[in-house]
Symmetry: C2
DNA sequence: GTCTATAAACCGATAGAC
DNA sequence: GTCTATCGGTTTATAGAC
């Protein structure tokens, strides 16, 4: 048996990192394959060895996040009390938003991706599951809107300069407090 | 003296309404002048009689909102207590977001506009004034992040399908409650 | 004020050499 | 795997007739 394959810094990984950065900064539509290629130090045609279309690049860039989201909801479903489920969802989403804040904002706000994912049912399914988990059998409109506001607010807040002044622990704590306030049942 | 000029439905107003709708749906970058012209029932070249560049159209579309935002902050500055200032800001922003929810989301989230406005100082100035007004002399990081989350969350929530089930009064009330929770000092 | 026609640049995508 | 060269289509923007 040969040694476990070391994680090579293949061209593919480099491309995804560059693409994500540009997607987050300029939006997907405004990011050309030429721009990605230039930033990655290859030619535009070189991208087409790895990917057949631009959409394929977009989906591959966001794939880790598209997988991470349902995983959070699944973990939260295992808890017995509502407060534990809420904290698991909030903590999981905050973790994702902080660790991949570029991707999270793109995922939640980019109109190109919204349209791309609207053809699939995965994102919609995740949202339905998550709202059902948080709202339970008594769907309070206030909490529903609070959840919408948290998701969208988290996407915006995670890349706001106000976060730069805080260390990682304080960021998590502040965002968690925001979520708890929005989802609190009185 | 002639009669006061009636508000003619001139081509210009029609263009702005069409453009805003497309900007909100597809993003500014993905909205071509051809698309605006088609939807407005004119030719692409016809747009250039009214506007010299695409950016000029974009700024004119968002001008009402760019004027409305500082007006809210100025009104809020007149109040003596913090709670009154907070409610004035929240109520004003909610009013704008609900009445012009397409424009508000574009203003806060579209990367094309973000870049366009980053060259000017007006948006930045408004944000600094508003945060200073809400935070006061003791800038609590928690409240600062709550404000960031409210602004971004409001943009997303104002065009969420969850709002469709509520009447106008309930929408205002729910969003106001969200803002009060996020900005509450304990 | 609105049109047709067109310029110049850029877009995503493909063919084929090395 | 990466390159050069190119295709067809679309973009912003302009020129000029009516």
């Amino acid at each position: 048996m040969s040694a476990a394959p070391r994680r090579r810094r293949t061209g593919r990984d480099q491309l995804l990192a560059v693409a994500l950065e540009l997607f987050a900064r300029d939006g997907i539509q405004a990011t050309s394959l030429q721009g990605i290629a230039d930033e990655a130090g290859v030619t535009k045609a070189g991208l087409y060895y790895h990917y057949k279309t631009k959409d394929e690049i977009v989906l591959d860039v966001l794939k880790p996040l598209l997988d991470a989201l349902p995983a959070v909801t699944r973990r939260a479903e295992a808890h017995r009390t509502r407060i534990a489920r809420v904290d698991e969802v909030l903590g999981g989403l905050i973790e994702i938003a902080l660790y991949e804040h570029s991707g999270f904002a793109v995922l939640m706000q980019d109109p190109y991706l919204t349209r791309l994912l609207s053809e699939q049912a995965s994102m919609r399914q995740w949202w339905d599951d998550t709202t059902a988990l948080i709202l339970g059998s008594d769907p309070d409109p206030q909490i529903r809107i609070g959840l919408v506001m948290f998701i969208n607010g988290l996407a915006g807040a995670s890349r706001d300069p106000a976060m730069a002044h805080l260390d990682d622990r304080d960021r998590r704590q502040s965002l968690l407090e925001c979520g708890r306030r929005l989802l609190r049942q009185d």
